[in-house]
């Protein structure tokens, strides 16, 4: 019963992630997974940990990121059922998300077959027919999330428990420590998108200092950041305007000189 509910939840999250995108973060996904597993507290703890761990992970352009939707449900459910908690969840989250990502790439490849269909509909001006265009990929993306979840929960639980029991503690402690270092990858991914020129580094350092030395939370820092964003824009914009103005003044001046001569 639990397995079927989790499979259904994976299907719902899978379809949502490709359409309305209302649930796609680990905190919300693991919360419901925790409810289904009958352990809300663990669901919250694991959800919060995975949320921070995958903070900067997201699809950028054509790049498909690790699939945190399937990864969160599977790792959260198996961590609760094996009693391993956060350490098991963070350890499982990485391989499951990366494996599930391969299925997303497969989905995006299969979707290419929608193009001839869409082309035919367009040529026939068949507006009614377009209604059906979204259902096959929707079922497929749901299935691609639900099937691995079903297999992992149905056959994985016992195996994971045995593996966890037999692993040396150094290995588990090390993996557990890595869960607190992995967020660096998400942060670095964000930085590589947002740092477009050298002077932008100063804002990163500013945020770091406000949090690290002054222990401010994210919300106040975001509000302070708004002020800096406005100042940044004003100085850039005014700079550009002044440059323009200076150029017109110079050209006026040279005109006048010519006139005098």
């Amino acid at each position: 019963m639990t397995t079927l509910l989790l499979t259904l939840w994976a299907f719902i999250c899978g379809v949502d992630d490709a359409t309305t995108q209302m649930l796609r973060r680990p905190l919300m996904i693991c919360f419901v997974t925790g409810i289904i597993m009958g352990d809300i507290k663990q669901g919250l703890l694991i959800g919060a940990t995975l949320e921070i761990m995958w903070m900067g992970i997201g699809n950028v352009g054509a790049y498909m990121a690790p699939d945190i939707v399937s990864g969160s449900i599977i790792s959260c459910a198996l961590a609760i059922s094996s009693g391993g908690g956060i350490a098991v969840a963070t350890t499982l989250a990485v391989p499951t998300s990366i494996l599930a990502q391969q299925l997303l790439i497969l989905w995006e490849t299969i979707n290419v077959s929608l193009n001839p269909w869409a082309q035919r509909l367009a040529e026939n001006a068949d507006v009614e027919g377009t209604n059906w265009l979204i259902y096959p990929p929707m079922l497929l993306i749901g299935f691609i999330r639900a099937a691995p979840t079903f297999i992992a929960i149905k056959f994985g639980s016992g195996a994971i428990q045995n593996i966890v029991d037999s692993l040396p503690t150094t290995l588990l402690d090390g993996l557990s420590a890595s869960g607190k270092i992995i967020p660096a990858v998400g942060m670095a991914l964000l930085m590589s998108v947002m740092i477009k020129e050298g002077k932008m580094w100063i804002y990163l350092i500013l945020g770091f200092v406000l949090s690290s030395y002054l222990s401010l939370a994210v919300l106040p820092i975001a509000l302070i950041a708004l002020a800096f964003a406005l100042l940044h824009d004003q100085s850039n914009h005014n700079g550009a305007l002044k440059k323009q103005a200076a150029q017109t003044v110079v050209s006026d001046f040279s005109n006048e000189e010519e006139y005098d001569l």
């Binding site: 919360f31 903070m55 950028v60 507006v127 990163l204 350092i205």
Partner: protein
């Protein structure tokens, strides 16, 4: 000029907008979904079947943007189809879409995905870590106010004001300005999250004669969370060198190195 689309039409567009991304594919990205979304509007504008087929084919070309960008572009495209009359002007909608999809995706990513999600994610996570079910619920509500609200507002604004706003020549830097402001906020949030979520503690000791100095304590007095910042900058440089393609490999390397360091008694 009186706008032709009613509130009911816009609601239908909004509903169809939700499933644009499900047609994502490697050949034309979200093109089939976009064509499907705008089809009922085109049907309203073009009673003639030939014209309708032309218009549908026009929107079945390579297209990809952020979901909120999709909303704005869908609104503008509907407005363009409504006001243009000559075939040349009608083809112009393709150029407009292509010109806007990149910059709008950039703004959408940096504002929603990389600023708003980290902010509400860390608020939600800190509540949830204390065992409060408010964490995920608050995150869900805050996320969807911006997600759904942004899509609806983007669609209506794109349809009613979009053409003036995005094609006015004196304000052609506006997209760039918004996205650079979003980057400032985003980077400060990222900087704060490096301090709060990337945690490395070394247990190494340096013995200087009689005195034993805890390395971590020494680092903390100079700069708290220094090791986290250092690792993040190293990962950033590796990502830059490999143009961001190997994030999964980097994650696995971090796991392996952590186990090794644990074994050696460094962390």
């Amino acid at each position: 000029m009186e706008k032709q689309l009613t509130k009911k039409d816009l609601n239908k567009l909004f509903w169809r907008l939700q499933s644009v991304r499900v047609t994502l594919n490697y050949e034309t990205m979200q093109a089939p979904g976009f064509m499907r979304a705008i089809a009922p509007v085109l049907q309203k504008f073009y009673p003639d079947k030939e014209d309708l087929a032309e218009a549908m084919k026009r929107h079945n070309t390579f297209y990809n943007s952020h979901v909120v960008g999709n909303a704005i572009i869908l609104g503008i495209s509907a407005a363009m189809e409504e006001i243009t009359t000559t075939p040349e002007d009608k083809e112009g909608v393709i150029a407009l879409k292509t010109g806007l999809m990149g910059p709008l995706a950039g703004i959408g990513d940096s504002l929603l995905k990389f600023t708003w999600v980290p902010i509400i994610g860390s608020i939600g996570a800190s509540l949830a870590l204390n065992g409060s079910i408010l964490g995920p619920i608050l995150m869900f509500v805050l996320f969807n106010i911006v997600n759904m609200g942004g899509k609806y507002f983007g669609l209506v604004y794109g349809y009613e004001k979009g053409i003036d706003f995005f094609t006015k020549t004196e304000d052609n830097t506006i997209i760039q300005r918004i996205s650079s402001m979003a980057n400032v906020v985003g980077l400060m949030v990222v900087g704060s999250m490096i301090a709060s979520s990337v945690k490395i503690n070394t247990i190494l000791e340096i013995s200087a004669g009689e005195n034993v100095i805890q390395l971590q304590e020494m680092l903390d007095t100079i700069m708290p969370n220094f090791l986290g910042l250092l690792v993040t900058i190293i990962v950033y440089n590796v990502l830059k060198k490999t143009s961001g393609k190997h994030s999964a490999l980097i994650i696995i390397s971090i796991m392996a190195i952590s186990v090794l360091l644990k074994y050696l008694g460094v962390i």
